[in-house]
Symmetry: C2
């Protein structure tokens, strides 16, 4: 092994709010955590998590004037480095002295949780053994995969996959907004957006909602919600800000244009748990199951989880960070219990 047989006290996989907060608390507990942050442009774990794709974050408490997503993740990273966090890069282990550059970080390629110590191999070749592992790999919102959708989403151009995060932004006030999806969360997001919007279209590929009856009734009863049935979005129009979407009718096959001041995707999330290869117990939606929902213990002793790879309900930076803190405190006590500190 390239680590000369040293066993890490704790390895952290992922580098969103949960991962860095776990690293902060673990480093302050003198555990010298080793972080595999993920790799930029990979399809799996993105260094910095979903906030790297976010412009203004207004709902992370402590920043009354807002903060840019990538700036916020840089603050998190620097804070955890300050107390002794070590980061796996292609050039070796980065510490505070060396700082860290997004893009050179390693993702986890192989993870063997079958026996103690656990074994972790990075996609840049770094190998480690560890007594404890914290999984904080996050989840990705599902997107339509249209080029203009991605362009406007990453530039703050009025396309978003999170109504709770972005709905209150001034750009959406008194505008006609669209929500793509037909499940409970589509109705939830549409209902939320009626607080700000003049009108909200639920754009759904079928002629009825998959949402539960109570949710579907709520949407139908809302004077501000209308439906675009049997429609799929084929393009998003607009230069700096969305102005409309192109819709294709799934029955008649004709196309039309719907003017919109904002578009919200509500077609689900995919937690980054596939790389676990079934080694941890997951729920039906592939989120990691916690043994006790208040704590961070998973189905494998010594493996802890935090953030959006666990959370299908709230998915906020602040909730993920809180879970990262819990995981580090649980790890510290677990190591002490086992005499492994």
């Amino acid at each position: 092994m390239s680590d000369n047989g040293n066993i890490e006290k704790v390895v952290i996989v992922g580098s969103g709010p949960a991962g860095w907060t776990a690293a902060l608390y673990a480093s302050r507990a003198n555990l010298s955590p080793l972080v595999f942050p993920g790799r930029a442009l990979s399809k799996d774990v993105i260094p910095g998590g979903q906030l790297m794709l976010t412009t203004d974050v207004e709902n992370y408490p402590g920043f009354p004037d807002g903060v840019k997503g990538p700036d916020m993740m840089d603050l998190f990273m620097r804070q955890s480095l300050r107390f002794g966090t070590r980061i796996v890069t292609d050039d070796g282990i980065a510490t505070e002295a060396e700082g860290g550059l997004y893009g050179q970080f390693q993702n986890v390629d192989e993870l063997d949780l079958s026996s103690q110590p656990f074994r972790i191999r990075g996609d840049g070749g770094h190998e480690a053994k560890a007594h404890a592992v914290i999984i904080a790999t996050g989840a990705k919102a599902n997107w339509l995969g249209i080029e203009n959708e991605q362009r406007l989403a990453t530039s703050g151009g009025g396309v978003s996959a999170c109504a709770v995060c972005d709905g209150a932004l001034p750009m959406f006030r008194d505008k006609v907004l669209g929500v793509v999806g037909g499940g409970d969360s589509a109705v939830e997001e549409a209902t939320y957006l009626t607080k700000f919007a003049s009108k909200v279209y639920i754009i759904h590929r079928r002629d009825q909602l998959r949402a539960s009856k109570i949710m579907a009734d709520r949407a139908k009863d809302s004077p501000k919600i209308e439906f675009a049935w049997n429609k799929v979005v084929t393009d998003v129009l607009g230069d700096k800000h969305i102005s409309a979407v192109r819709l294709k009718d799934t029955v008649k096959n004709d196309e039309s244009t719907l003017e919109l001041g904002g578009l919200f995707l509500a077609i689900g999330h995919t937690p980054a748990t596939e790389f676990l290869n079934g080694q941890l117990e997951l729920d039906k939606k592939k989120y990691i199951k916690l043994k006790d929902p208040y704590r961070s213990y998973t189905s494998v002793d010594g493996v802890f989880a935090a953030g959006d790879c666990v959370d299908s309900v709230y998915r906020q930076a602040i909730t993920a960070a809180g879970m990262g803190c819990k995981a580090a405190i649980d790890v510290e006590r677990w190591l002490a219990d086992k005499g492994l500190e």
Copy 2:
């Protein structure tokens, strides 16, 4: 009623990290939350919570250079005001335009959860009715109640009630530290402090620990932990920083001096739940019980709880803030379910 019969969508009681984060999320959801922050110098709910008694906060993610506790709470308050939070003061309802001054805030005097809408009366006379209430009143560390202990605790003079929060501070490195207490948390804190200290004394009023056997064995096996049995602290010595404690032997009644570079209290916490007068289900230690430990619903429909008044395990600013976010999101969905938005 002084509110002319208007019914608030949500009232938030308390103004630590949980309360302000709940207010931030509730205000961004257009719920115009009304906050009873607590009253300065009261024995109950302190505006700003325990962080108002804290000097440097190094473990709240996002502040790599640390932040003063009161400054952090001011940032939280201003951020929630920015999105429409309203604060109950002795001079009326403060909004963003008016800002808010610590010390003029109202605490909750009476809370009637027996029927909808709930009724809340502030100790400065403000009365409100509300569909939903979030309890975020926090908990207080128990202290010995000695004047010099309080003086050195509030001035950053090396006396603390939270090893996880403060143990990593440079002032405690390689010092002889004392932990007062005899339960599991005293051993937990002492074990944690051995990472930094040259030696840790557990100072206990009896001749054996109340801690569980496994914890007691761990303390006895640690080469860095020693015991001061049958001792109570009668005074804390030191001008700007603690230099020693005066101890009284509970059996022999004689006094002695123990030189220490830091003192940690681990004699329990008291959640601020007494004012609820049994209207919510509490656990044995008087913390509010959640119906589902992952969510924020309490035993009374429409009442939600967040932060240290719920949490006997982690007690960190970041975990409390995460819970405040959950409570606001749960309230928003609950109001929508009931058609009360």
